[in-house]
């Protein structure tokens, strides 16, 4: 597999009160096309990642909507929904469409507009990614990830302070990213003092509600401007609800998707220099690092406190140089695409203060629900 990431673009992530989904999409795609040097007429397919538009905005049919909006009318266009993994899935679908030989060049757009809607409606809509039993029980995703966190704490002795260290790291990285939602560093004490959302998770253990869009232009052709390639694209699924899992201290879909991706790319964990992982809650980042084999089960929390995944002090791998979902923001459908944008930027060496030194191999990890979908991509120069 050798798909070129020809162009990338993304909007500022945050509470973008004045921005409509159309505006966000336009900004990201226009930037990606301009970056790629590809003519718009060369784009043969459009994949739109989004989760909430139909439920919150009563607007479905996003493929055709954004094809029209972006001046791509006539181009085959698809909406891809896989909860918080929608973006990663859309990239995967774009990659598959090129590998199938159907298209040469496609655009993948991730877009989400969340702040126009009341928080309780957003929470309720997000639970569309959970199981019916979980919804009937009144569970929310903070509650489900709190169960995972508590299980991890009981089995491995992971502490609330270690969880907080994830948020501190990601806010530090986000402080170096002008497009991030939160550009201020925080301390462990601030995380521990923040409001309890779902014990043991505090407010600052949770990724925020975010507006934003990201887009990439993928092509089978070599690019004169970009030497970044997707060398693995893998997806795995698991039960929708936590009750169906054998273990609550790992996400099997992550393990399976990562294993497939490593095999596809012909690389090992030690070859990955940096990764954008799905830290919707701080425990999710710890699980991701462990499940993909970047750290031993039960030891990641301790190492997180030591700063071995932090820019400047990392021993082997930098995790979430963009700030992750926690610091950069989490506009659901856009997140997985933004991860590709960040890794591509790192591989191009254009990340300024948050640049990973001599970046050559990076990975993205995007999760839907509480681990029912996992998408892993590996990118190389």
């Amino acid at each position: 597999m050798n798909i070129t990431v020809a162009g990338i673009g993304m909007t500022k992530f945050g509470e973008l009160w004045d921005a409509s989904p159309r505006w966000l999409a336009g900004q990201a795609v226009t930037a990606a096309i301009r970056d790629s040097g590809v003519e718009k007429k060369s784009i043969q397919g459009l994949f739109v990642a989004n989760m909430l538009s139909g439920m919150l905005g009563m607007q479905g049919h996003l493929g055709a909507l954004f094809a029209e909006e972006l001046g791509l009318s006539g181009v085959p266009a698809y909406t891809v929904e896989g909860a918080c993994a929608s973006g990663g899935l859309a990239v995967h679908a774009g990659v598959m469409s090129i590998l199938s030989g159907q298209y040469d060049t496609v655009c993948v757009l991730g877009v989400e507009k969340m702040t126009d809607h009341k928080p309780e409606l957003v929470s309720s809509a997000l639970m569309g990614a959970g199981s019916n039993e979980e919804r009937l029980a009144g569970a929310t995703f903070p509650g489900l990830y709190a169960i995972l966190a508590r299980s991890h704490m009981e089995k491995y002795g992971t502490t609330e302070k270690q969880l907080a260290s994830v948020a501190v790291k990601n806010h530090f990285h986000a402080s170096l990213n002008a497009l991030a939602q939160f550009t201020h560093p925080i301390t462990v004490e601030q995380v521990l003092r923040s409001s309890c959302v779902a014990d043991p998770l505090k407010l600052l253990d949770c990724s925020p509600v975010t507006d934003g869009a990201a887009a990439v232009i993928l092509t089978k052709h070599q690019s004169k401007k970009s030497g970044v390639h997707i060398v693995a694209s893998a997806v795995a699924t698991d039960t929708l609800g936590l009750a169906g899992r054998k273990s609550l201290t790992e996400l099997v879909a992550t393990k399976q998707a990562a294993l497939k991706a490593f095999t596809q790319a012909g690389v090992e964990q030690k070859d990955i220099q940096f990764a954008e992982v799905h830290d919707c809650f701080t425990i999710a980042e710890i699980l991701a690092i462990e499940d993909m084999g970047f750290g031993r089960k039960g030891e990641v929390g301790t190492n997180m406190e030591k700063g071995i995944y932090t820019l400047g002090t990392a021993e082997h791998i930098v995790i979430n140089s963009s700030g992750g979902l926690k610091g950069c923001g989490h506009p659901i459908g856009a997140t997985g695409v933004k991860q590709i944008v960040e890794v591509t930027s790192q591989l191009r060496g254009v990340c300024g203060k948050r640049q990973v030194k001599q970046a050559r191999v990076g990975l993205t990890h995007n999760v839907g629900g509480s681990g029912a979908t996992a998408v892993v991509h590996i990118l190389k120069t």
Binding site: E15, W17, D18, T115, K118, P119, S195, C196
Partner: protein, 347 residues
């Protein structure tokens, strides 16, 4: 020069602790108090509503007024809790004040700035020489749904200003408004409690409008924050007025005397007018006050007031009669959360 001839305030006697509300909903009281900056709020008695509260404030303002109630030629009452959907609060109050029948009366609604909208309208009538005296009232028994974030701050109080063209205690040097269609907070007809758009009520709503009005006022009056002795803002919680004052370049000393929110919460239409009254209670003559209200939906009214020597007489009377805002705030009795629910007719 148009200005305030007299003013009156009414703060209900009862209070509920923020802590008690938080405990009722299993929330951490310190988190709530830290986030909102409000430790207690006023609670109306079981027989108090926006009309009775407005009447109390209006009566107090008349008690310092040398003329007769019948000289009032305009009576505008701003509230978002008018007891009747159809049947004006203003005529009930006018009748009980003894204004007579030769006056224009109207009820106003513009969320938390309905009272100051009335001030601007009466200023216009005075400037046009259509009337010689008018009264603008802001009064609310603010609604909030149990367990909503508003419940910690929605309060009750009233403030009345008698405006005229002579014998003023504070001259109105300049005023302006800033309005837009910004749906941050609303209550549809027939619905008991208001809805709000969470964090949207902050930056694009309160801060955008208050700062927008401030900039217009500064341009129009050719004054800057440093030229004012005091500032007053709408106070939906303890944080917003402090933050907007900081952003505009006012000091905590300029803002301090207006911060009634710390003690009584947010009595919606009465909030900024109560803040102004609190400043008028302590300010010396020839001092400038910048006042900016905010009403959701959304808009801000901005004013420049300059106190006169005549203010001292009213201050003295208010103090002698235990009528200062600070004295009214100090006169209090606490109810628990259940008492609060009963007195606001929620149970």
């Amino acid at each position: 020069m148009i200005g305030i001839v007299s003013y009156g305030t009414y703060v209900p006697k009862y209070r509920v602790h923020t802590e008690d509300i938080a405990h009722a909903w299993k929330k951490n009281p310190m988190e709530i108090i830290s986030a909102l900056g409000v430790t207690e709020k006023t609670v109306p008695n079981v027989d108090e509503d926006a009309v009775t509260i407005a009447l109390e404030a209006a009566l107090q303002s008349l008690s310092y007024f040398k003329g007769k109630p019948s000289e009032i030629e305009a009576l505008l009452v701003g509230s978002e809790s008018h007891p009747y959907a159809v049947n004006p609060s203003s005529t009930i109050i006018g009748e009980l004040l003894g204004v007579g029948t030769s006056y224009v009366a109207a009820d106003l609604e513009f969320a938390c700035k309905a009272g100051t909208a009335g001030v601007q309208m009466i200023a216009g009538l005075l400037s046009a020489k259509q009337i010689k005296l008018g009264m603008a009232i802001g009064s609310d028994t603010a609604q909030s749904k149990p367990h909503d974030a508003l419940e910690y701050t929605s309060a009750s109080a009233g403030s009345a200003l008698i405006l005229g063209s002579s014998n003023v205690v504070a001259s109105l040097l300049s005023y302006t408004s800033y309005s837009s269609d910004t749906p941050d907070f609303w209550r549809r007809d027939g619905i008991r409690y208001p809805s709000h758009a969470g964090r949207f009520t902050g930056e694009p709503a309160y801060f955008a409008h208050v700062m927008g009005a401030a900039k217009l006022l500064f341009q129009k009056s050719k004054l800057q924050p440093k030229d004012f002795d005091y500032c007053v803002f709408h106070m939906p919680n303890g944080k917003f007025p402090r933050e907007v004052a900081r952003r505009l370049g006012f000091t905590s000393e300029q803002l301090g005397p207006s911060l009634t929110v710390d003690h009584i919460g947010n009595p919606y239409s009465a909030s900024s007018m109560m803040g102004l009254s609190s400043v008028l209670d302590v300010v010396k003559p020839n001092k400038k006050i910048c006042m900016i209200s905010y009403g959701s939906g959304a808009g801000s009214d901005a004013f420049v007031w300059k106190t006169t020597d005549a203010l001292v007489t009213i201050q003295k009377k208010r103090k002698e009669q235990n009528g200062l805002v600070s004295q009214q705030i100090a006169r209090k009795s606490y109810v628990d959360y259940l008492g609060y629910l009963k007195q606001t007719h929620k149970v």
